[in-house]
Amino acid sequence: MHIPEADFEDLIRTLSEARSRATELATSISARLGTEHRLAVLANAASLRIESMLREVRSSATQGTDIAGGLAELQGALHIETQPVTPAPVNPSDHIRPGMEAMTAFAAQAGLELEHWLPMFVNDLNSQVRTSGGITFELAERLLQQRKDDFLRDFLIARRMYRTYPHLFPEIQNEQPSSESQPIPQGGAS
Protein backbone atom coordinates (compact mmCIF):
# COMPACT_ATOMS: atom_id res chain seq x y z
CA MET A 1 0.00 0.00 0.00
CA HIS A 2 1.33 3.38 -0.90
CA ILE A 3 0.23 6.91 -1.59
CA PRO A 4 1.03 8.34 -5.02
CA GLU A 5 2.79 11.65 -5.20
CA ALA A 6 -0.27 13.39 -6.59
CA ASP A 7 -2.30 12.29 -3.58
CA PHE A 8 0.36 13.56 -1.22
CA GLU A 9 0.32 16.89 -3.00
CA ASP A 10 -3.43 17.13 -2.75
CA LEU A 11 -3.44 16.11 0.89
CA ILE A 12 -0.77 18.61 1.86
CA ARG A 13 -2.48 21.38 -0.04
CA THR A 14 -5.88 20.57 1.44
CA LEU A 15 -4.57 20.29 4.97
CA SER A 16 -2.47 23.42 4.67
CA GLU A 17 -5.46 25.46 3.59
CA ALA A 18 -7.64 23.81 6.21
CA ARG A 19 -5.17 24.66 8.92
CA SER A 20 -5.25 28.33 7.98
CA ARG A 21 -9.03 28.35 7.93
CA ALA A 22 -9.27 26.46 11.20
CA THR A 23 -6.86 28.84 12.89
CA GLU A 24 -8.86 31.83 11.70
CA LEU A 25 -12.07 30.20 12.82
CA ALA A 26 -10.68 29.39 16.27
CA THR A 27 -9.43 32.96 16.60
CA SER A 28 -12.85 34.35 15.65
CA ILE A 29 -14.65 32.11 18.11
CA SER A 30 -12.21 32.88 20.91
CA ALA A 31 -12.51 36.58 20.24
CA ARG A 32 -16.29 36.37 20.48
CA LEU A 33 -16.80 33.92 23.29
CA GLY A 34 -13.50 33.82 25.13
CA THR A 35 -10.78 31.22 25.06
CA GLU A 36 -12.38 29.20 27.85
CA HIS A 37 -15.68 28.73 26.06
CA ARG A 38 -16.47 25.20 24.95
CA LEU A 39 -16.76 26.26 21.32
CA ALA A 40 -13.35 27.93 21.46
CA VAL A 41 -11.84 24.83 23.03
CA LEU A 42 -13.37 22.65 20.33
CA ALA A 43 -12.20 24.99 17.57
CA ASN A 44 -8.67 25.03 18.93
CA ALA A 45 -8.70 21.27 19.26
CA ALA A 46 -9.81 20.90 15.64
CA SER A 47 -7.10 23.32 14.54
CA LEU A 48 -4.45 21.36 16.42
CA ARG A 49 -5.71 18.09 14.95
CA ILE A 50 -5.40 19.49 11.45
CA GLU A 51 -1.94 20.81 12.16
CA SER A 52 -0.87 17.48 13.58
CA MET A 53 -2.34 15.69 10.58
CA LEU A 54 -0.51 17.98 8.21
CA ARG A 55 2.74 17.30 10.01
CA GLU A 56 2.23 13.54 9.82
CA VAL A 57 1.30 13.60 6.15
CA ARG A 58 4.29 15.76 5.37
CA SER A 59 6.54 13.43 7.30
CA SER A 60 5.11 10.44 5.46
CA ALA A 61 5.60 12.20 2.15
CA THR A 62 9.28 12.79 2.79
CA GLN A 63 9.73 9.19 3.92
CA GLY A 64 7.45 7.75 1.28
CA THR A 65 8.55 4.95 -0.99
CA ASP A 66 6.71 6.06 -4.07
CA ILE A 67 7.69 9.64 -4.40
CA ALA A 68 10.97 9.45 -6.25
CA GLY A 69 11.64 12.68 -8.02
CA GLY A 70 8.64 14.24 -6.37
CA LEU A 71 8.63 15.57 -2.88
CA ALA A 72 12.18 14.37 -2.34
CA GLU A 73 13.10 16.68 -5.16
CA LEU A 74 11.17 19.36 -3.40
CA GLN A 75 13.32 18.89 -0.33
CA GLY A 76 16.31 19.55 -2.55
CA ALA A 77 14.61 22.63 -3.81
CA LEU A 78 14.09 23.79 -0.25
CA HIS A 79 17.79 23.42 0.41
CA ILE A 80 18.68 25.27 -2.76
CA GLU A 81 16.19 27.86 -1.72
CA THR A 82 18.40 28.80 1.21
CA GLN A 83 21.32 29.77 -1.03
CA PRO A 84 21.95 33.48 -1.29
CA VAL A 85 20.92 35.07 -4.53
CA THR A 86 21.79 38.27 -6.29
CA PRO A 87 20.70 41.14 -4.11
CA ALA A 88 17.68 42.95 -5.36
CA PRO A 89 18.03 46.70 -5.55
CA VAL A 90 16.27 48.34 -2.69
CA ASN A 91 13.66 50.65 -4.02
CA PRO A 92 11.54 51.87 -1.11
CA SER A 93 8.29 53.47 -2.03
CA ASP A 94 7.00 56.63 -0.47
CA HIS A 95 4.62 54.85 1.84
CA ILE A 96 6.44 51.79 3.08
CA ARG A 97 5.12 50.54 6.38
CA PRO A 98 7.62 50.10 9.22
CA GLY A 99 7.44 46.30 8.99
CA MET A 100 7.90 46.39 5.25
CA GLU A 101 10.81 48.76 5.63
CA ALA A 102 12.47 46.43 8.11
CA MET A 103 11.85 43.49 5.83
CA THR A 104 13.36 45.34 2.89
CA ALA A 105 16.39 46.29 4.95
CA PHE A 106 16.85 42.74 6.15
CA ALA A 107 16.57 41.34 2.64
CA ALA A 108 19.13 43.81 1.33
CA GLN A 109 21.49 43.11 4.19
CA ALA A 110 21.21 39.36 3.73
CA GLY A 111 21.54 39.61 -0.02
CA LEU A 112 18.14 38.08 -0.63
CA GLU A 113 15.24 39.02 -2.81
CA LEU A 114 12.35 40.63 -1.04
CA GLU A 115 10.14 37.69 -2.01
CA HIS A 116 12.50 35.18 -0.44
CA TRP A 117 10.90 33.28 2.41
CA LEU A 118 13.47 34.34 5.00
CA PRO A 119 12.77 38.11 4.99
CA MET A 120 9.05 37.30 4.95
CA PHE A 121 9.49 34.99 7.90
CA VAL A 122 11.45 37.62 9.82
CA ASN A 123 8.68 40.07 9.01
CA ASP A 124 6.14 37.59 10.40
CA LEU A 125 8.15 37.38 13.60
CA ASN A 126 8.42 41.16 13.88
CA SER A 127 4.70 41.55 13.28
CA GLN A 128 3.90 38.99 15.92
CA VAL A 129 6.14 40.67 18.48
CA ARG A 130 4.65 44.06 17.69
CA THR A 131 1.05 42.94 17.92
CA SER A 132 1.27 40.65 20.92
CA GLY A 133 4.30 42.03 22.71
CA GLY A 134 6.08 38.70 22.75
CA ILE A 135 6.70 35.44 21.01
CA THR A 136 7.22 31.83 21.95
CA PHE A 137 9.28 29.08 20.36
CA GLU A 138 6.06 27.30 19.48
CA LEU A 139 4.63 30.31 17.70
CA ALA A 140 7.89 30.91 15.84
CA GLU A 141 7.88 27.30 14.73
CA ARG A 142 4.31 27.63 13.55
CA LEU A 143 5.07 30.77 11.57
CA LEU A 144 8.05 29.07 9.97
CA GLN A 145 5.92 26.08 9.12
CA GLN A 146 3.37 28.34 7.48
CA ARG A 147 6.11 29.90 5.37
CA LYS A 148 7.29 26.43 4.41
CA ASP A 149 3.78 25.38 3.49
CA ASP A 150 3.30 28.49 1.39
CA PHE A 151 6.53 27.77 -0.43
CA LEU A 152 5.58 24.15 -0.97
CA ARG A 153 2.19 25.10 -2.36
CA ASP A 154 3.60 27.69 -4.73
CA PHE A 155 6.36 25.37 -5.84
CA LEU A 156 3.91 22.62 -6.69
CA ILE A 157 1.76 25.06 -8.63
CA ALA A 158 4.79 26.33 -10.53
CA ARG A 159 5.89 22.80 -11.32
CA ARG A 160 2.46 21.90 -12.62
CA MET A 161 2.42 25.00 -14.76
CA TYR A 162 5.78 24.05 -16.21
CA ARG A 163 4.66 20.53 -16.91
CA THR A 164 1.44 21.68 -18.52
CA TYR A 165 2.74 24.70 -20.39
CA PRO A 166 6.49 24.17 -20.95
CA HIS A 167 6.46 26.54 -23.92
CA LEU A 168 5.76 29.39 -21.53
CA PHE A 169 9.14 28.86 -19.85
CA PRO A 170 11.68 29.01 -22.68
CA GLU A 171 14.44 30.30 -20.43
CA ILE A 172 14.20 27.21 -18.25
CA GLN A 173 14.09 24.90 -21.24
CA ASN A 174 17.25 26.52 -22.55
CA GLU A 175 18.97 26.00 -19.23
CA GLN A 176 18.06 22.32 -19.05
CA PRO A 177 17.75 21.14 -22.64
CA SER A 178 18.60 17.49 -22.04
CA SER A 179 16.68 16.92 -18.89
CA GLU A 180 13.10 16.54 -17.94
CA SER A 181 13.87 17.60 -14.41
CA GLN A 182 11.51 20.06 -12.90
CA PRO A 183 12.19 23.76 -12.65
CA ILE A 184 13.47 24.75 -9.28
CA PRO A 185 12.65 28.27 -8.24
CA GLN A 186 15.82 30.12 -7.46
CA GLY A 187 16.04 32.13 -4.34
CA GLY A 188 12.87 33.28 -2.83
CA ALA A 189 9.79 32.10 -4.62
CA SER A 190 7.31 31.66 -1.87
Binding site: T14, A22, L25, R38, L42, R49, E56
Partner: protein, 75 residues
Protein backbone atom coordinates in the same frame (compact mmCIF):
# COMPACT_ATOMS: atom_id res chain seq x y z
CA UNK B 1 -19.01 38.10 25.61
CA UNK B 2 -21.96 37.85 23.31
CA UNK B 3 -22.46 36.45 19.86
CA UNK B 4 -25.44 37.30 17.68
CA UNK B 5 -27.28 35.14 15.17
CA UNK B 6 -25.50 36.56 12.15
CA UNK B 7 -22.09 35.93 13.63
CA UNK B 8 -23.07 32.46 14.71
CA UNK B 9 -24.33 31.68 11.22
CA UNK B 10 -21.08 32.90 9.74
CA UNK B 11 -19.00 30.80 12.13
CA UNK B 12 -21.17 27.77 11.49
CA UNK B 13 -20.88 28.22 7.75
CA UNK B 14 -17.09 28.50 7.95
CA UNK B 15 -16.86 25.42 10.12
CA UNK B 16 -19.14 23.50 7.76
CA UNK B 17 -17.01 24.54 4.81
CA UNK B 18 -13.95 23.36 6.68
CA UNK B 19 -15.60 20.03 7.33
CA UNK B 20 -16.51 19.64 3.65
CA UNK B 21 -13.06 20.60 2.43
CA UNK B 22 -11.33 18.05 4.63
CA UNK B 23 -13.87 15.26 4.12
CA UNK B 24 -11.75 13.59 1.46
CA UNK B 25 -8.65 13.34 3.62
CA UNK B 26 -9.77 10.35 5.73
CA UNK B 27 -11.28 8.66 2.70
CA UNK B 28 -8.11 8.94 0.61
CA UNK B 29 -5.90 7.71 3.42
CA UNK B 30 -8.28 4.89 4.27
CA UNK B 31 -8.44 3.75 0.65
CA UNK B 32 -4.70 3.97 0.18
CA UNK B 33 -3.46 2.68 3.50
CA UNK B 34 -6.31 0.74 5.04
CA UNK B 35 -8.51 1.57 7.99
CA UNK B 36 -6.01 0.38 10.56
CA UNK B 37 -3.16 2.57 9.42
CA UNK B 38 -2.13 5.24 11.88
CA UNK B 39 -2.49 8.03 9.33
CA UNK B 40 -5.99 6.90 8.38
CA UNK B 41 -7.03 6.77 12.01
CA UNK B 42 -5.51 10.17 12.73
CA UNK B 43 -7.40 11.59 9.78
CA UNK B 44 -10.62 10.09 11.09
CA UNK B 45 -10.01 11.67 14.48
CA UNK B 46 -9.29 14.99 12.84
CA UNK B 47 -12.53 14.82 10.90
CA UNK B 48 -14.40 13.83 14.04
CA UNK B 49 -12.98 16.83 15.82
CA UNK B 50 -14.20 19.17 13.09
CA UNK B 51 -17.61 17.49 13.04
CA UNK B 52 -17.91 17.98 16.80
CA UNK B 53 -17.22 21.66 16.36
CA UNK B 54 -19.83 21.95 13.62
CA UNK B 55 -22.36 20.07 15.71
CA UNK B 56 -21.77 22.31 18.72
CA UNK B 57 -22.07 25.43 16.61
CA UNK B 58 -25.35 24.20 15.13
CA UNK B 59 -26.71 23.43 18.57
CA UNK B 60 -25.49 26.62 20.17
CA UNK B 61 -28.33 28.43 21.85
CA UNK B 62 -27.89 32.15 21.44
CA UNK B 63 -30.70 32.92 23.83
CA UNK B 64 -28.90 31.07 26.61
CA UNK B 65 -26.09 33.59 26.63
CA UNK B 66 -25.90 36.03 29.52
CA UNK B 67 -27.53 39.31 28.68
CA UNK B 68 -25.21 41.88 27.19
CA UNK B 69 -24.44 44.95 29.19
CA UNK B 70 -26.35 47.97 27.96
CA UNK B 71 -23.70 50.15 26.41
CA UNK B 72 -26.09 52.89 25.33
CA UNK B 73 -24.85 56.05 26.98
CA UNK B 74 -27.77 58.24 26.03
CA UNK B 75 -25.78 60.68 23.95
Amino acid sequence: MIIDARELNDLTRRATDLMSETADVPRVLRNRLGEQHQLAQAAQEMQGSIESLVQELRCFDISAQPAAADTYDGS
